[in-house]
């Protein structure tokens, strides 16, 4: 346990990874995650690790693949468009069962989008993201403190199940400073148990070679390989779900929000509670595995559920799957990389309970007003929402 200090999210993430024993980092500049490679460039040198500024995100993730295969705790970070580029390597990492850490400090999309914090990559992160049938362990911090402490958790889970783990944060968390501390003593890599599957170490006489690969071309081989992976996915879904609950004991309406949206939701819940509305929060901390079971339980106790998201509604898909139609699930959407305004979410909470539509995102009523036109949204900067 260290003293509480003021630290920027991205730097806390980098330092957290170093303290978790990360000794290899490869990355490529992209806003709003630049502080991660910047910090790593001098810090890895200090601790005797390796840092490479790659020529592209694609190269960076493949360097990660090589380094992870040596059994070294290895990491890359990027932001949304860069994470899309990394999907090739992430798919290989998953297919070769390589533990490693990938951080996505999300920004607005699609395309170049903007550089403000956003949550548009939830589906990409929780469904794998690249080609093929696979999952990533996805941790969603909501504070600088969690950004600093989740890398250790991520590495441990990744190694336990031999698969890549992702920290899914956003530009606001990456750029903000907060008082934070480390909840763990620095990990000495030499003290970690060496991986029996790793390559590049001195191979003892008579010991079999290690092979890292993601192919299985023989008849029926690939299915066997994928099903074996499904076994561990099942264990993870059973054993590794993490979430936080607030005020759920007496809640009539449940807010489900993750990451930075959960913070705006907490403020909104405080506003609504002062008005006497019984509203609770469930904050998924692991996005995969998702707290499906707990949301299902809570859905039998509440009248409805509200999902505030900085997207057109991605996490809500998992919430709806968990609820299975038992109660209505509403969306409050800020898809343009606007930080949700707590007051607006508070209005959305009231709307959801009273059947109003204010601050609720509803495709049906959108369709009533929508026109196809030239099918090109106006590209004027909006003045709505919180100025970032």
């Amino acid at each position: 346990m260290s003293e509480k200090v003021l630290m920027k999210g991205n730097e806390a993430l980098a330092e957290g990874a170093i303290r978790a024993g990360c000794r290899f980092f490869a990355g490529y500049p992209i806003t709003p995650q630049n502080e991660v490679p910047e910090y790593m460039s001098w810090r890895q040198e200090e601790v005797g690790g390796a840092f490479v500024q790659a020529e592209s995100e694609i190269a960076a993730v493949n360097m990660l693949y090589g380094a992870a295969a040596t059994g070294t705790r290895s990491m890359t970070s990027s932001s949304s468009p860069g994470i899309s580029l990394k999907q090739e390597g992430i798919s290989y990492l998953a297919g070769a069962d390589m533990p490693c850490l990938i951080a996505n400090i999300m920004r607005g999309g699609p395309g170049l989008g903007n550089i403000a914090g956003a949550q548009g990559d939830y589906i990409q992160a929780t469904r794998g993201g690249g080609n093929g049938d696979y999952r990533l362990i996805v941790l969603a911090p909501f504070s600088v403190h969690e950004l600093a402490n989740f890398p250790k958790k991520a590495f441990e889970l990744a190694e336990k199940y031999r698969m890549p783990a992702m920290i899914l944060a956003d530009g606001i968390l990456g750029q903000m400073m907060e008082g934070m501390s480390f909840d763990f003593d620095p990990v000495e890599p030499a003290a970690l148990k060496p991986a029996c599957w790793s390559i590049g170490g001195a191979r003892a006489e008579g010991k079999k070679r290690n092979m890292v690969y993601s192919y299985a071309l023989g008849e029926g081989e690939l299915e066997k390989m994928v099903l074996k992976r499904a076994d561990k996915y099942a264990l993870i879904e059973r054993d590794e779900v993490i979430y936080e609950e607030r005020f759920t004991e007496d809640a009539e309406i449940l807010v489900v929000a993750y990451g930075i949206s959960a913070r705006a939701s907490i403020e909104a819940i405080n506003i609504a509670r002062k008005k006497g509305i019984k509203v609770g929060l469930l904050r998924p901390i692991t996005l995969w595995p998702f707290p499906t079971k707990r949301i299902k339980e809570l859905s039998s106790k509440v009248k409805c559920i509200l999902c505030p998201e900085m997207s057109l509604g991605q996490m809500i898909v998992d919430v709806k799957l968990a609820v299975d139609g038992k109660v209505p699930v509403y969306l409050h959407a800020r898809p343009g990389a606007f930080f949700p305004v707590a007051e607006d979410i508070a209005v959305a909470i009231e709307s959801a309970l009273t059947g109003k539509k204010e601050q609720l995102f509803d495709l049906e009523s959108l369709a009533d007003k929508a026109t196809l036109g030239c099918h090109q949204p106006e590209n004027k900067p909006s003045k709505e929402g919180a100025l970032l």
């Binding site: 003021l6 806003t31 903000m176 913070r263 405080n270 305004v341 007051e343 970032l388």
Partner: protein, 177 residues
């Protein structure tokens, strides 16, 4: 206690570092704090701003949409943030650079000739600290001592003379009512 602050001005006026200082000072006093900057293209040559939250409990949103206090260091920041200040809130305007007057009557508006005071103190660079001093004096959200002690953490390489000068700027700012 909850204070959501927005500090805005030209890049180079120290608005971002004033915010860091404020957050660090809050931490010194054992408060929960957050700091969030504007970043990216808008930082290149234009106006920079940051959000600071100081509270006794827990910082929910780090992006201060509706500030309790806005510190306006340059002209373009006034129309941007004056409308957002919470009713009953505080608007501190650097009158050395901002010639326009605020129009709202439901908030407290204080005009501080930050640059002039800073020059009198001995360094124009301390204009941001004059404004922080005024903020500390008027809101009581933070003490001058806490800011002074935060300076040692934020400006690690500053010489004792510079720190003394900074403290003077804070104190001068705090005199303004």
């Amino acid at each position: 206690m909850y204070q959501g602050v927005r500090i805005s001005g030209f890049g180079g006026q120290g608005v971002v570092s004033a915010g860091v200082l404020l957050a660090q000072a809050g931490l010194v006093e054992g408060k929960a704090v957050s700091w969030y900057p504007s970043y990216g293209p808008e930082m290149r040559g234009g106006t920079a701003n940051c959000s600071v939250v100081i509270t006794d409990t827990e910082v929910a949103t780090p992006v201060v949409a509706l500030p309790d206090t806005a510190i306006i260091m340059n002209e373009p920041s006034l129309p941007k943030f004056e409308p957002l200040v919470k009713k009953g809130g505080l608007l501190i305007i650097n009158s050395s650079l901002v010639k326009t007057k605020a129009t709202r009557t439901d908030i407290k508006v204080v005009y501080v000739p930050c640059s002039e005071i800073a020059e009198k103190v001995g360094s124009l660079k301390t204009a941001n600290l004059v404004a922080l001093g005024t903020f500390a004096g008027l809101t009581g959200a933070i003490s001058i001592d806490a800011i002074a002690s935060a300076m040692k953490k934020v400006f690690k390489r500053a010489k004792p003379e510079a720190l003394a000068l900074n403290r003077k700027a804070l104190e001068e700012g705090a005199k303004i009512k």
